[in-house]
Symmetry: C2
């Protein structure tokens, strides 16, 4: 185990009937909120009204800022920053999934800077402050509700980059598993892929490797996510399955599983960012294409680690570690397909001829993230495994 600092102060309020508590929580941090949400599903399913009533009861004034799309974009966030500044809000409340929460975080940080907010995402300027962020979660996948990251896409150049700062860590997040009942099978599947990939990137790409407890946490969470998702596909309103998925999503990417793992790289995320930036496909769908392709590429260099994965998750046995590892990759693809998430570029209608362009885009991000070992040629090799 390597040295680490773990600090995660977000207050989680979890369970059915908890959304009406949001007003009181917001009022601890200010009197006027920017209410950030997406394309309007919360207006139809009653969540908007629950939140608005709760804010009013707590005496919190608020201004709506709807319209955050999946894979949130810079131009929209810039409008949010302008509105937050004009309205002099003192809190940002996100009601949505990872995209909405990330947009809210970017707005909260952007309000505090005089320069181009994109400078924070290229790491050319540090995040030096943010308005307090609170969330009501409606899609569980990114764990953005309990971590310090946010991802944004700059349309010009198709750059999907991120910021990481304790300033944007949510103060309070409310999670009611019943709001997931209406989540489509597709997004339920993509969420599972996202949660699993967050954990497996750390599992495969850490520099410590003597981390039995972290390994076991990842394996435990992954088994729970798979088991819960299988139930959800049959019974979308199974509370226990949705609740276990919702809590696992948080634990899978709130710093817990990677504590002590040393430096962790996320190459599948790096390459996937190019897919969703260029083709605007769901992040999870992109990950189910890239992750197995990356694993196949890593077969020679990370044989033992991949074999351990196959043994623990899919109870695969066999003499040679490489053969066992290959079976593990095949099982993972099989499972992704079984829940309806694509495992090839073709299945997501991405032309094979675009590989060069995608690799160019991903390589640019590898430079921003200081990832060594991912030349354009390597990325092309990985993408070819997804054909």
């Amino acid at each position: 185990m390597q040295n680490f600092v773990f600090e995660n102060p977000t207050k989680i309020i979890f369970g059915k009937g908890q959304i009406p508590k949001i007003g009181k929580e917001v009022s601890r941090f200010g009197r006027k909120a920017l209410l950030v949400y997406g394309m309007g599903s919360i207006l139809k399913n009653g969540i908007y009204n629950q939140v608005a009533d709760s804010l009013k009861k707590a005496g919190v004034d608020f201004v709506d800022f709807p319209g955050v799309k999946s894979n949130p974009v810079l131009s929209h966030v810039q409008k949010g920053i302008a509105l937050a500044q004009k309205e002099k809000v003192d809190v940002v409340l996100a009601v949505g999934g990872g995209s909405v929460i990330d947009a809210a975080k970017a707005i909260a940080a952007g309000v505090k800077v005089g320069h181009d907010i994109w400078d924070l995402f290229t790491f050319s300027q540090p995040v030096t402050g943010a308005l307090p962020v609170l969330t009501v979660v409606t899609v569980s996948a990114s764990a953005s509700e309990m971590n310090n990251g946010a991802v944004l896409t700059k349309e010009d150049g198709c750059q999907k980059y991120c910021i990481v700062s304790p300033f944007i860590q949510p103060k309070v997040s409310i999670l009611d598993p019943t709001v997931l009942f209406s989540l489509s099978p597709g997004y339920s599947a993509y969420s599972a892929v996202d949660v699993i990939t967050h954990m497996l990137e750390g599992y495969f790409n850490n520099t410590a490797f003597k981390t039995p407890i972290q390994d076991r946490l990842v394996e435990s969470l992954m088994k729970t996510v798979m088991e819960s998702t299988d139930i959800i596909m049959e019974e979308p309103d199974n509370y226990s399955a949705r609740a276990n998925m919702m809590w696992s999503a948080i634990l899978g990417f709130n710093g817990l599983t990677t504590a002590g793992m040393g430096r962790v790289q996320m190459p599948a995320h790096m390459i996937e960012h190019s897919l969703s930036a260029i083709y605007d496909i769901p992040h999870g769908a992109g990950l189910s294409i890239v992750l197995p392709a990356w694993m196949t590429w890593a077969l020679e260099t990370k044989t033992e680690r991949l074999a351990k994965f196959a043994r623990e998750i899919f109870t695969m046995k066999g003499r040679g570690s490489k053969a066992v590892a290959e079976k593990g990759i095949a099982c993972l693809k099989l499972w992704f397909e079984s829940i309806g998430s694509p495992v090839s570029l073709k299945a997501a209608n991405i032309p094979k001829n675009d590989i060069d362009k995608i690799a160019e885009n991903a390589f640019a991000l590898s430079q921003v993230w200081f990832y060594e070992g991912y030349s354009k040629e390597v990325i092309i090799q990985i993408l070819k495994n997804a054909c």
Copy 2:
């Protein structure tokens, strides 16, 4: 899964060479600290000097308050409160294990009250504030370094009671696994028993029971604690084993494993408190006596849960759940004995004739904790299983 609130803001700084960071962390909370420690081992092993130098470099003044004994007592804490008030300290820094941290927490809370501090422990008065508490951990077991509880013994009446409040949650805890290298085999074993019992109480005594992720976390942590302790018994200075144990101890009792489990009772702790209050034996030694005795008592009412434990932890198989459960209890006793922790009253030199007196004492605590189902007769039955 049942509704829950999870909030654990303690900053953990983990790893070798981290103790010199304590001064800077303390200085974020005040300029004068009460330095609480135990019977002087930190003076011999150099930790005191590391802490004192770090405080001086950070410009933090400090007053020593040594002498906390294992199973810390009220009279000593009262002296600490008087000293803290007289010296007008604004921070309490604990350097030690669970006893020292608990004493520091009690002092931090006690400074703020005008009435008898014991009223907090009988729950007749609420904790309404506390000085900031920081810790440097030298024994890993209680997880007090990352939770909101503290246990104290009132010598008059042999009452070993607790307080629970967010005010006493440590702000920062520094954990360097190398300080555990010199921990005796006995205390290394008792620590493992304590960590395991914290988790198993929740595993056996929760009211939700549809908690696959929590169950898997407990099983993962328990396997890691057992595996690490077996290594530690052979190689006390194995860094990886000590580090995995140190981190598992925290995760086992910082609220993570019980989130969503609903109401959790800790009957083995309740009864053990009487053993260590009356006979001043190490807490872990008392737990390895009481826990298997309690499990034997629970065999009829919690058969399935005990069988699950046997299957998951000891890979026990068999037709009847009760037979499997019995094998699990036997294995646990065997393992406790193998690391040198007692599994009978006799092994701890506690006379069988005292059972009535012990049960009387434990029953009084069951009333303070509002535990139903633990009459004096029931407690006698459990204790007889430890003969």
